[in-house]
């Protein structure tokens, strides 16, 4: 089933949690809502689920306005951030809940419920824990039970709120791959919320990057990473060096040196973004390269991190080199070098909104 979000706004008190958002999710697609806390992504997910009522706008399931249906009848599978498993029920009873509360006319027989729940427990690989209580399970197991419970009602869409947020790094990676595999097999239209760009990149078909209640960019993971639409997206999706520059006739200048292309931008001040791993460092001068001095060298696992100070401009530059490249002729602190950006992206200095302040609390968790 497809989901269409049309011009949704949500205001809490005076706070605009969602500020006019539109988004289309195709049948069978897995879409990530990615953003910092306070960006409105959880609120948007709850609006899609029907747990929050939008102040304006609408949500359509297969072209039909979902607002006219009560949450109970929307058939939305929702996995809560902290799972919201029923503490006093066994795993089996948690998964069976959605089947047992059906009206007598539509309720499956006890045998059907048992076999269906067992099949779901098998699917999420917790079949041996049917008689346990949620408190007796590990985080990853609870997560999978929550998923099985959501799937039991044969939902038309699956919504997951920070599905791996409460898990440790190793379990998170395993579960991510497993969930991707499960999605590929079942083909259920799914939307999940995350603040972890790696998770969004690895898991989703498309990513919607959110900031301050708006969607800044929607696209495939490679699209948003390689051609970020706004400075915010650039900075949020990975480490970035920010270099103030001048734009003249389609070129960006760093001091007197032409630094990179800036086609289509008006003349004036700009900011160039360069990822640390997109920088080449050489001892000799090359075409378009810029002189700098090595301040610090840190070797961390597979990469060597250099900190350069520019000779002609104020400011520092962070560089990541594959360890192999650094290995043959290592750089040392104090050394004079030249650097050049393999690719960079220039925005007008006043473009886009700055990232939301980290202290802002996700409005949905405000009680």
């Amino acid at each position: 089933m497809s989901i269409e979000v049309r011009g949704v706004e949500k205001v809490f008190g005076g706070f605009r949690a969602i500020d006019g958002v539109s988004l289309n999710v195709q049948e069978g697609e897995l879409v990530a809502l990615l953003g910092p806390s306070g960006s409105g992504k959880t609120t948007l997910l709850r609006v899609i689920a029907g747990l929050e009522f939008p102040t304006a706008g609408s949500v359509l399931f297969d072209g039909e306005d979902a607002v006219t249906r009560h949450v109970r009848e929307r058939k939305v599978g929702f996995v809560f951030q902290h799972y919201a498993l029923f503490k006093h029920m066994t795993v089996f009873n948690n998964v069976a809940f959605g089947l047992r509360v059906k009206s007598r006319a539509t309720r499956p027989s006890n045998e059907e419920i048992t076999s269906k729940v067992n099949a779901l427990l098998n699917l999420v690989q917790v079949e041996q824990f049917g008689n346990r209580y949620p408190s007796q399970l590990s985080g990853g197991q609870r997560q999978r039970v929550a998923l099985a419970r959501a799937l039991a009602i044969e939902p038309r869409v699956l919504l997951l709120d920070e599905p791996f947020g409460a898990l440790d790094a190793k379990v998170r990676k395993e579960l991510r791959r497993w969930l991707r595999g499960l999605h590929d097999r079942m083909g259920l239209t799914s939307v999940f919320v995350t603040h972890d760009q790696e998770e969004a990149m690895e898991l989703s078909d498309r990513v919607a990057v959110m900031n301050r209640g708006r969607i800044e960019q929607v696209g495939s993971p490679t699209e948003v990473y390689d051609t970020p639409a706004t400075p915010f997206v650039y900075e949020f999706l990975g480490n970035a060096n920010r270099l103030p520059c001048r734009i003249e006739r389609g070129r960006a200048y760093l001091g007197p040196i032409v630094f990179t292309e800036a086609v289509g931008l008006a003349d004036g001040l700009g900011i160039a973004f360069v990822r640390p791993h997109d920088i080449e460092v050489t001892v000799e001068h090359q075409n378009l390269s810029i002189p700098a001095t090595v301040r610090q060298v840190l070797v961390a696992g597979a990469v060597a991190k250099l900190e350069l100070s520019l000779d002609t401009e104020p400011g520092m530059l962070e560089v990541e080199l594959p360890r192999g490249a650094h290995w043959g002729a290592p750089f040392t602190a104090g050394q004079k070098v030249h650097w050049r950006a393999r690719t960079a992206r220039v925005f007008p200095a006043n473009a886009g909104s700055p990232p939301a302040a980290p202290s802002e609390v996700e409005p949905a968790t405000l009680k």
Binding site: V71, R72, F78, F80, F86, F97, V101, K102, K367
Partner: protein, 298 residues
């Protein structure tokens, strides 16, 4: 909680830099124990000693005397009406307060606690001023031959007032802590409001509810001041157990008075033991306001 090292032994090594010298510790413990013995143990002991002073036979005569039985019956009746009323109130108030956001919520919570800070005598007085012969609706009630004051309804009203907050204040902080995730999950899975309440919310608060009911009941059966004002002390008719204790005492029937008192003391002890068991076994499922680490309430 379950550590049982003796005070006489050496202190556990982890505490050596942050505890008092043994002599100070012993003196503090002794002071505390003496205070408890003087103010808590002695009064309890005196009740039992006085109750059995005339022997076991006299004790049972006293508690099976018709007026005593009538008092026991009235006390049970009043509690059997007042406690369920406050349970219904506690559940509805807690549902509205804990599961929804609305203006004036904290004022409402304060007002629910209000009866705890009102003197029992004043609690009785307000109903006399409302429903007594000189009261606002008293004359109308007399005309229609419906008695509230000096009758069971007045006793129930006074009891409801003094036990008003017990159930609600156990449920509200707990249900606020639990949030609305599980209820929302149930709704998304297709449960109706009643199904959500009975299958999800109620099981989550059942021990706290029982806890509140226990305290509410103990207070309901033991209430003296408020009930004394509205009862009129009609023996065999509007005399509750605490009032009966007073009458017997004032008639110098000390042994009988203490015999009835011992029944209420027993109720108090049973309540205390049940309370401790609940806290010990289901502490996590009670509101974070008792002996648990500080929860939502200061």
């Amino acid at each position: 909680m379950t550590k049982t090292s003796s005070v006489m032994g050496p202190p556990p090594p982890a505490l050596t830099t942050t505890t008092e010298p043994p002599a100070v510790r012993r003196a503090l413990i002794l002071g505390a124990v003496a205070f408890v013995a003087l103010f808590l143990v002695m009064p309890l002991a005196v009740v039992l000693a006085e109750a059995f002073r005339r022997g076991v036979g006299a004790y049972f005569d006293a508690i099976t005397e018709p007026y005593t039985l009538a008092a026991v019956g009235l006390t049970l009746t009043a509690a059997a009406i007042a406690v369920p009323l406050n349970v219904i109130f506690g559940l509805t108030a807690a549902w509205a307060i804990a599961k929804f956001e609305f203006a004036g919520k904290s004022l409402l919570i304060t007002l629910i606690d209000l009866p705890f800070s009102v003197s029992p005598v004043i609690a009785g007085l307000i109903y006399v001023l409302m429903f007594g012969a000189q009261g606002w609706v008293g004359p109308w009630l007399i005309e229609h031959d419906f008695r509230i004051i000096f009758a069971l309804p007045g006793i129930v009203l006074a009891t409801v007032f003094v036990t008003f907050p017990f159930v609600a204040r156990e449920l509200i902080p707990l249900m606020q802590d639990q949030g609305t995730d599980e209820e929302e999950a149930a709704t998304l899975l297709g449960a109706s409001g009643w199904q959500t309440f009975f299958r999800v919310t109620l099981p989550n608060v059942k021990w706290a509810l029982l806890y509140g009911v226990l305290l509410c009941n103990a207070r309901a059966m033991g209430e003296f001041g408020a009930v004394a004002v509205v009862s009129g002390h009609i023996r065999g008719v509007t005399n509750t157990m605490p009032l009966h204790i007073e009458i017997l005492y004032n008639e110098y029937k000390f042994a009988a008075s203490f015999a009835v008192a011992s029944l209420l003391a027993l109720l108090a002890l049973v309540t205390l033991v049940a309370k401790i068991l609940l806290e010990w076994r289901y502490g996590d499922e009670l509101a974070g306001v008792h002996r648990m680490p500080r929860g939502g309430k200061a």
